[in-house]
């Protein structure tokens, strides 16, 4: 299954992936209109320290601890992609407790959110990949 991979060799820590992620979730067509005066809460997040940068997003694990821990069954695996049914989520944060990558985070309305490979957006393919100016993020199969 294709996944999003970030190569820290080329990541500049410019945060454009975060903005493209936030933009994709709005399903708007113009980024300025979509994100003007908004504090973003993206599903891919940059970690930076002393010249090292990389972005972390859901790994869509083969053995997903978040799915096993979810108390409502809101998190489930569909065709390899771990998705969240936001209607079912009651914000208990057990998934945040379980995720070893820190890839799940609370969203503005309380339900949790994480990268779902842009399958629920209008564009359909991961936008963080598109927004990266230095080829640090790729969407490919690595036999995991």
């Amino acid at each position: 299954m294709k996944r999003v991979y970030v190569n820290e060799k080329w990541c500049l820590g410019c945060h454009l992936c975060e903005y493209y992620c936030a933009f994709a979730s709005t399903n708007e067509t113009d980024m300025a209109k979509a994100l003007k005066d908004k504090k973003i809460n993206p599903r891919i997040r940059i970690e930076s320290n002393e010249g090292i940068n990389f972005a972390v997003s859901c790994r869509h694990c083969e053995e997903p601890l978040c799915v096993k821990g979810c108390i409502t069954g809101a998190l489930s695996k569909n065709d390899g992609i771990i998705t969240i049914d936001r209607n079912r989520c009651i914000s208990c944060y057990t998934c945040i407790l379980c995720c070893p990558y820190g890839a799940v985070s609370p969203s503005e309305d309380g339900a949790v959110q994480k990268c779902e490979l842009c399958i629920k957006t209008n564009v359909g393919t991961p936008q963080c990949v598109k927004g990266c100016p230095n080829g640090a993020i790729v969407y490919e199969e690595r036999g995991e």
Binding site: L12, Y19, D30, M31, A32, L35
Partner: protein
Amino acid sequence: MAINYVYPEYEIVRNYDRCINCRVCERQCANEAHKYLSDYNKMTSDDSKCVNCHRCVALCPTRALKIVKSNHTFRENANWNGKSINEIYKQAESGGVLLSSMGNPENYPVYFDKILLNASQVTNPSIDPLREPMETRVFLGAKPDRIERDENGRLKNNMPPQLKLSMPVMFSAMSYGSISYNAHESLARAAAEMGILYNTGEGGLHEDFYKYGQNTIVQVASGRFGVHKKYLDSGAAIEIKMGQGAKPGIGGHLPGTKVGEDISKTRMIPEGTDAISPAPHHDIYSIEDLRQLVYSLKEATAYKKPIIVKIAAVHNVAAIASGIARSGADIIAIDGFRGGTGAAPTRIRDHVGLPIELALASVDKRLRDEGIRNNVSIVVAGSIRSSADIVKAVALGADCVYIGTAALLALGCHLCRSCQTGKCNWGIATQRADLVKRLNPDIGYKRLVNLLTAWKHEIKEMMGGMGINSIESLKGNRLMLRGVGLNEKELEILGIKHAGE
């Protein structure tokens, strides 16, 4: 300082309706021209720090930024323009030599833009490049005067070593030190993929790039940085740098701050020391001395590699070239006054040297008049900007061109001419690891390949249009050129007729 004599040349214009405070401009400007004010939730910019490199403009996801030339003016003066005045202020302030980067930007005539190409019609039909084979390959090196046969009548191979190129373009000398490791990797990989060569410049050859040796010209400059036996053996050809178009008559200078561990190892100098290349080679004071070096290098490499001698285009370039052609060199590279550099004194860059078009034409004519044109191939450099410039250069007598600035533009350079600060925001003319990262060779080399592939097609189209199907037939073919807006002397030196004749 109390009095601001010099007003910022550029202003950063931000469309606040489109700015989403993503701070990419702030993060990506090595000159720290942008800042996010958290109290006001607003981005702000300091025009005085902007060098007009466009990094922020190119990365802004909502296209909210542009850089404009400030319309703050001096009183109009055809003689004392703003630039001249500001330069006086700078020197009164610093007491130092003005330094600049890249090529001469001044308003001297660009002869390529005053030369037009022919096309076939009616009497001599054009060739369709999509249907007919078009030969863009060239071979650089000395050509023998006559065919020789052995006692059985079979052809003797009396060809000196040749460089085979898939098209008449090579990447110009840009040293590792003036440009980054990633820039070199992009050039090397692109040269390998396109079947052409790139040039190490005077910074030596990094050990990671020995594997591209077949596509590398190793340069021996006056500082002899990084020159050792393995270095000479690794390249496909050796270039002796006598001069450089951007700064004829003087040497090179890489500040000690840029000489880190890697550069120190590659150039074979201690870390942190300035890398100064002296003006002359201190063992070459005459044409005989040059001949001696040429043959020393041939001996050291078993006569297997062509030797290139690179000179700047100066007033008696034809005589110099004639001497070089008799010295045993296989290829002469001539660098015109528009050539780029990492750093040079502004006055030398802008006021010394000759346009390559005139230099080329006069050298080609001189060598042909003396019957020694086949002793050498001629490579020209100094602002080849498009495939049209290449075709015109070949028609004026060049075997091949070097591209420097054009290659860097393909890699992302925006010609802001601030290379000497070492803070190139595009990761090209810098050694800062966080900036060098911005040039991903996987992307860079592809862009170079794209550029050359496009030019190759265009060259074929233009040649086909002229009814020519090989570079060899275009070479020195002055009848394919006409001048426009040139005076008699210029036409005479270029050896072409005026349009309409």
